[in-house]
Amino acid sequence: MDLRRYTEPFFENLIKVCGYSSGFVVLLIVIFLFREGISFFNFSPVEKGYSLWVHSNNPVKKLEPAQIKDIFDQKITNWKSIGGKDEPIHLLSFDELSQAYSPTQLGPKFEHLPRCLDSFMDSLPGTIGFFPEAQTVGQLKTAREVEVDKIALSKFLTDTEWFPTSRPAARMGVMPLLLGTMLVSFFAILFALPLGLAASIYLAEIADERVRKILKPIIELLAGIPSVVYGFFGLVVIVPFVQDAFNLPVGETALSGSIVLAIMALPTIITVSEDALRTTPRSMKEASLALGASQWQTIRKVIVPYAASGITAAAILGIGRAIGETMAALMVTGNSAIMPHSLLQPVRTIPATIAAELGEAPYDGLHFKALFALGCVLFFITLIINLLVERVSAKR
Amino acid sequence: MTHLDTELKILKADLIEMWQLVVNQLEKGMKALTNFDRDLAEEVMENEKRVNSFELKVDKDCENIFALFQPVASDLRLVLVALKIGNNLERIGDIAASVADFVLEADTDFNKAILEHTKILEMYAVANEMIADALEAFDQEDTRLARTIFKRDKILDDIDNKALDRVLECIQNYPDQARNSLLVMSMMRKLERVGDQSKNLAEEIIFYFEAKVLKHKKKKKKEGDE
């Protein structure tokens, strides 16, 4: 009895601490996600340990990641187009350097590399070179290091290219992934909402109790199947089907993703909107019938409008699920991080990108951080959606 | 206008109609006495049935309003007052009828001198006026007028107190009118009661409009309480 004086407050405090656990976890998620995600914006997009060099007379002092990529892809071939002199750009590779200078000139451990670089730059002022920092730093006379812009948040959010591993400078724009996610999710809901609504109307208002008791658990079961199984099913059934139906080179497309995600969103939409439809007061239905309306007119004109906020919540919730869905999207959308133009083309969603690339990204590197930044974007989207759902369903 | 208002309006109208009938009865009785108009006296007797049925109607109205509408506050007081006023009016109606009955019992005309000497006509007039004023006070919501009724009852009492002596004097002076004199005496005893009934009416009217209970209070207080 006496012992309880000490144990009770202890357990009550423990319960209290656990009560805040969900809030605590959300906080932790935010902290860790954003700590990693934000540090991304302090990183240079140039590969770690490397620098870009140009002739010290070259007026171009700063380059953007996009420009660097274009230069090395030889889309930009003249300094003039990026604010320099009218001079062709010469890309100096390590191979070229080792052909122009003998191994003795370079030194056995490349200790004379700076001198060679300087003399090469003198002979060809339009040169741009990409070399490890360790062997060049502080010893160059003619060549000068180019400053490279860090990837700004606005750039990150609006850039339309996602080449996280391209050298010498990575391009990391969320746009293609974001649009891919939106495209797949939007069409998933476009497919799922009418079907789900029809099914929820059937279950809530039309089906008799016996039929409902059979159908409802089956539909709820649909929600329990792991997403990887849906992904697998999509891979072996829907992907070939889409490929054949539209005569495509590959079946892994946004459309396949939308179809699989639609199937996955159905149980959520059906369950939530059925609950919403069921909240319609019986007397309101009867009032409509008493005015001579048919059952269908009552459903269309009274019950559905009454449940509108619940149905909206169902749709938003469905979109949220689709946006956050990882495995199924990863397995059937084709994973091509380009700006989507059509439904019949491979796309890549944000969660799929994280899942596919995190394993390959070097720990704590630029790419690694970029994926956390992507995670932040995804977290924000789902947070907004969750708050929206709460807002919508609290109304009325 | 609510349903209850309609019902109350009907009740009030019934009551006023009954009241006017009773005033009318008294006036006709007085006329019958003065003119020794037996037909008129008969008419008063006949009309007494109407007064009685009016009382039943008012009672029924009140019962329905109580049962169906559960009146409160001034509505409640009106129904309560209507019940009692109906009752009082019925008694006044009875008095009017019995006065008429006494007129019919006389075999000869009433000698004018007797009527003068006993002051029965004065008494009759005051009583009539009290009932009529009470009606006006009720209809016009005039509680000041209602309060004047208490004073006037004293006039009736004074006349009534001297009635016995005066009737005796009449019998001595006009032995042939001895029977009529005694009838006049009986009438005066009845008319004195009209004063009491009028006081009750005044009390009910004041209760209705002011929600003040004046029953069983000292006379001074009733009159001064304005």
Partner: protein
């Protein structure tokens, strides 16, 4: 006055539950008939016979006759049920306007029954809102949501909604039980006004209300009609002891 509705030995079962045990009663035309009785006595079930609302509850069985203008409404074709319901307006316990504008609430019955003429609908909406003594309060905000009205206004809107399709009968299932006394008074006055044009049947467990608004009263108890008669009679001198006990509150 003639009978607008008549039931002859009407029985109603919900599954095994015998809810109405042979009710024979005539409802007078253009008068207010109140049905009173304790909860579960069958008064609401009886009311719902008249527009076949009980059909909506599963496992319901009905026997006996329910005559509306002399026609047995349980022998009409299923297709005629909608038009039966058009002829019988209904107002419910809780104000239940549709999630639409004030105007659309009243216009609803017209629209679902195929009236498309805009000016006709507008005229009818105004007329019925006038009838329901609501027009002056809402004429400037017809397009606002009906939910923005007060409870009492909502209930009058529901009455207007029922009146819009011009029924001859108005069924009211405890129309004021969810309202404050002022709103209740307004609804009762409205019933008083409307009884010249409609045959009104009102279910209420508020006996005083039955007394105030009705011309005839039927007392139900345990699925049976114990007593029926003029309201004045029932409330001043009921014939049956059960009625006396109920209306005096000495019940059970």
């Amino acid at each position: 006055m003639s009978n607008k509705i008549e039931t002859i030995d009407a029985h109603l079962y919900y599954g095994d539950f015998h809810a109405l045990k042979g009710i024979t009663l005539g409802i007078k035309e253009n008068a207010v008939t109140a049905l009173i009785g304790p909860s579960g006595c069958g008064k609401t079930s009886y009311l719902r016979l008249f527009n076949r609302m009980n059909d909506l509850i599963p496992y319901t069985q009905i026997s006996g006759q329910v005559l509306l203008d002399g026609q047995n409404i349980y022998q009409i074709k299923p297709a005629e049920i909608d038009s039966l319901r058009r002829n019988v307006g209904m107002v419910f316990q809780n104000p239940n306007p549709f999630p639409k504008s004030i105007f659309e609430n009243v216009a609803y019955g017209l629209r679902v029954n195929g009236i498309k003429d805009k000016s006709l609908i507008e005229a009818q909406v105004e007329k019925t809102l006038q009838q329901a003594a609501l027009w002056d309060e809402v004429k400037d905000k017809l397009n606002q949501s009906a939910f923005e009205l007060s409870g009492g206004q909502q209930q009058r809107l529901c009455i207007a909604r029922a009146l819009a399709i011009e029924p001859t009968i108005l069924l009211m299932d405890e129309p004021a039980s969810a309202l404050d006394p002022i709103s209740t008074g307004k609804i009762e006055d409205l019933i008083f006004e409307l009884k010249n044009q409609f045959t009104i049947v009102i279910v209420t467990h508020n006996m005083q209300q039955a007394g105030r608004v009705s011309d005839y009263t039927g007392f139900f108890y345990l699925g049976q009609l114990i007593e029926y008669g003029k309201t004045r009679k029932i409330f001043t001198n009921p014939t049956k002891q059960e009625t006396e006990n109920y209306i005096t509150g000495r019940f059970g």
